[in-house]
């Protein structure tokens, strides 16, 4: 091995790749060669670092210096200044919003400082396409321990006492699930392990990140699980829209097989375990476990009623244990470091950490892993850096289209399974969308319903018809045609759909509606009674008006709005106040955007 003194960890998660991080790597290698440093400085591509809004990014080790928003033009200067001369380049460092001083090292940046990486323990530190690097960081040690020092019952006990709960959304105790699968027709039939990598929530990319950065953690977890329940075959169902993750996963499986860490007689212990990868075909509903199993079997991807649960009758009628990617990624470290260590992190009922994708109206957008029990406030303000442009926080939506909104009043809510459910939302797979005063909560509900309505499989009446009708009513309301009866019907419909739908998709689809009604009912009422949208998002309800004073004194009747108006709805002369004719106005908002003098306002 070459004695490199410096490793440049270039992020190659999907986001940074699409921002040309591979090109950056190429330029880096060229420049390093130019400067004669190719034996001293190594360029390593890693998986996602999490701070996605600031990509392309790179961490210089061993210094721990964090560079972000890199462009190809920056590289020559960077190589010469920092890597050759040892002077880190301040201009490419991260500057927290509202501040002037850059923070050079990753560990000092708030976004990273408050995170606790367990599932993402290897992020940014290894090249996911080199199995040796995974092994170097304790990789596959847990599997060795599980195969040589523990019995299957020991493994199950360990996972149970750790308190690990399913990270896919439902939060079912993982150890218990394993125990039930193991107990089903013990020793008499073939059993299966499945990894649910269908991650369908819009905006969620936790699982993608894990697979792109550290695919072996999932494979090792699955192997340990297989040992525990007595399975020899595993399936990974990965959604079609993750080509890079699929590529890395396939490479990882190939390398693991070559090393004999997957396949027959693993590590000479007589344990067999084999993994197949199955690609999804664009259906959110196939993230539901029974629909996923149907798709694996080649049938129409629609859920079936439970019981019987997959632990009794799953894939091809055999006992099957399905867990989410993040759950699997947690397993190796629980076995290595012990359940006691794991159970000391988190709260009484929710142990360990959770990966969240923090997006929306927030300064630091990206992927964060935090201990359970951290408050929402800490996530939004400490890690997220607060709301940009000095706007007011309004709500944070958790759990994607199955979840609900947490309002300002509940900002100090500890983030764990029970608290979120009690507040009407749910942990879900970890999506967190932050909203500010310029978000319309009715529109948010409508947005999520559009998604669930489109993704409904259509089997059961309440989901197929109910989501369609809820969407109809919400659309009406956002267009100013809602009535009081509509609101009543909406609430009634939401409650009934929640109770009578067949599967999780239908049962949770009304959540965005119900939580926004619970905490933001006044917004609905404003839409209906006053036909106004307080956040000015529902365009049809906006009434654009020109302030005559400002128009004349500041703008001198410049006429720009009149020229830009596509409907010719503005009339006026130079130096005279302009007027908008409301019956011609189609509420496109162009005049509002082009007026430099802010003479146009929304009533």
């Amino acid at each position: 091995m070459k004695p490199y003194r410096m490793h440049l960890m270039v992020c190659a998660g999907t986001a940074c790749v699409s921002n040309k991080s591979y090109k950056i790597k190429k330029v880096l290698e060229e420049e390093i060669k130019k400067q004669g440093l190719e034996d001293e400085v190594a360029v390593v591509t890693t998986g996602c670092n999490g701070f996605c809004a600031q990509g392309p990014l790179m961490v210089v080790q061993p210094d721990g210096v964090f560079y972000q928003l890199l462009k190809e033009e920056d590289i020559p200067h960077l190589v010469e200044e920092h890597f050759l001369k040892g002077r880190p380049v301040k201009e490419k460092m991260y500057v927290p919003p509202e501040e002037k001083m850059p923070i050079p090292t990753m560990d000092n940046i708030d976004f990273f400082k408050y995170q606790r990486l367990i599932a993402l323990r290897n992020r940014g530190l290894i090249d996911p396409e080199k199995i040796d690097e995974y092994i170097a960081r304790d990789g596959y040690n847990a599997l060795v321990k599980a195969l040589t020092e523990m019995s299957p019952d020991d493994i199950i006990r360990e996972v149970k006492t750790s308190g690990l709960r399913g990270r896919g959304g439902a939060g079912f105790p993982t150890g218990l699930k394993w125990e039930l699968t193991r107990a089903s027709e013990n020793g008499e039939v073939e059993k299966y392990i499945v990894c649910n990598a269908d991650e369908g929530d819009p905006g969620a990319f936790m699982d993608r990140s894990i697979i792109e950065s550290d695919p072996h953690s999932v494979l090792e977890g699955m192997a340990i699980g297989a040992r525990a329940i007595g399975a020899t075959k595993g399936f990974i169902y990965i959604r079609h829209e993750y080509p890079l993750a699929l590529e890395r996963l396939n490479k990882a499986i190939k390398q693991a097989c070559e090393y004999g860490l997957l396949g027959e007689n693993i590590l000479d212990t007589g344990f067999n375990f084999d993994v197949d990868v199955h690609r999804g075909a664009g259906a959110f509903v196939c993230g539901e476990e029974t629909a996923l199993l149907a798709a694996l079997e080649g049938r129409f991807g629609e859920p079936r009623p439970r019981p019987p649960y997959p632990v009794e009758k799953g894939l091809w009628g055999k006992p099957t244990n399905i867990n989410n990617v993040e759950t699997w990624a947690n397993v190796p470290i629980i076995i290595s470091r012990g359940s006691k260590w794991f159970s000391e992190i988190g709260t009484e009922t929710s142990k360990g950490t959770k990966v969240f994708s923090l997006v929306g109206k927030i300064n630091n957008t990206g992927l964060v892993e935090v201990p359970m029990g951290i408050t929402m406030r800490d996530i939004v303000y400490k890690i997220g850096g607060g709301i940009p442009d000095g706007k007011e926080f309004k709500a944070v939506q958790t759990g994607g289209p199955s979840g609900g909104c947490i309002p300002k009043a509940l900002l100090d809510l500890p983030v764990d399974y029970e608290s979120l459910t009690d507040a009407g939302s749910m942990m879900g797979s970890g999506g967190m969308v932050v909203m500010d005063e310029e978000t319309c909560m009715v529109d948010v509900a409508r947005y999520f319903l559009t998604f669930t309505q489109d993704e409904s499989c259509g089997k059961c009446t309440p989901c197929r018809e109910g989501t369609k009708r809820m969407l109809e009513i919400l659309t009406k309301i956002t267009q100013g045609e809602g009535t009081e009866e509509d609101l009543q019907l909406l609430e009634e419909l939401a409650n009934e759909v929640k109770k009578s739908a067949l599967c999780g998709l239908g049962k949770t689809a009304p959540n965005p509606v119900l939580t926004t009604l619970r905490y933001f009912r006044d917004e609905y009422e404003t839409h209906i009674r006053e036909k106004k949208c307080p956040a000015h998002v529902c365009r049809k309800l906006n009434v654009y008006t020109i302030d005559p004073e400002i128009c004349v004194t500041k703008g001198h009747g410049c006429g720009v709005c009149m020229r830009e108006c596509p409907e010719g709805a503005i009339a006026g002369e130079k130096n005279k106040p302009h007027r908008i004719e409301q019956d011609k106005c189609i509420k496109c908002g162009v005049c509002y955007e082009v007026c430099r003098f802010k003479a146009i306002y929304i009533q």
Partner: protein, 127 residues
């Protein structure tokens, strides 16, 4: 690639440990070779190469080598600072390739400060 046995896993781990230590920024020793323009002009790059070759010879995995800009004392370049965890940093000046190899073996591996080549024992730590 042949199928691994349990012992093989440990071997790979050993081999790549140098890598992991480096990335974790965890090392017993940190050596900074000053590479300001003055340093480079005085031959700091050769110092660096010699140091790295020596390290490879001894198969060292817990030493971090890094660069920095000009330390300020341009007339005494090439310079290097050796920081051992738990001890005060030592600045070495007027270096040659032979000297840095000696410093590496005596101070970094042996634990003994080579006072002849040292400028000062400082207090500003970076490690």
């Amino acid at each position: 690639m042949t199928k691994l046995k349990i012992e093989d896993l440990a071997k790979i781990q050993e081999k790549t440990k140098r890598l992991t230590n480096l990335r974790d920024g965890a090392g017993r020793v940190k050596i900074t070779v000053h590479m300001g323009t003055c340093g480079i002009a005085a031959g700091a790059r050769n110092i660096m190469s010699s140091l790295l070759s020596e390290m490879e010879k001894h198969n060292i995995s817990d030493v971090i080598v890094t660069t920095s800009g000009c330390a300020g004392l341009c007339s005494r370049e090439p310079m290097a600072t050796v920081e051992i965890v738990g001890e005060s940093p030592v600045k070495y000046v007027d270096l040659t390739e032979a000297k840095i190899v000696e410093i590496f073996n005596k101070h970094v591996l042996g634990g003994e400060v080579v006072t002849d080549y040292a400028l000062a024992v400082g207090s500003e730590r970076t490690h």
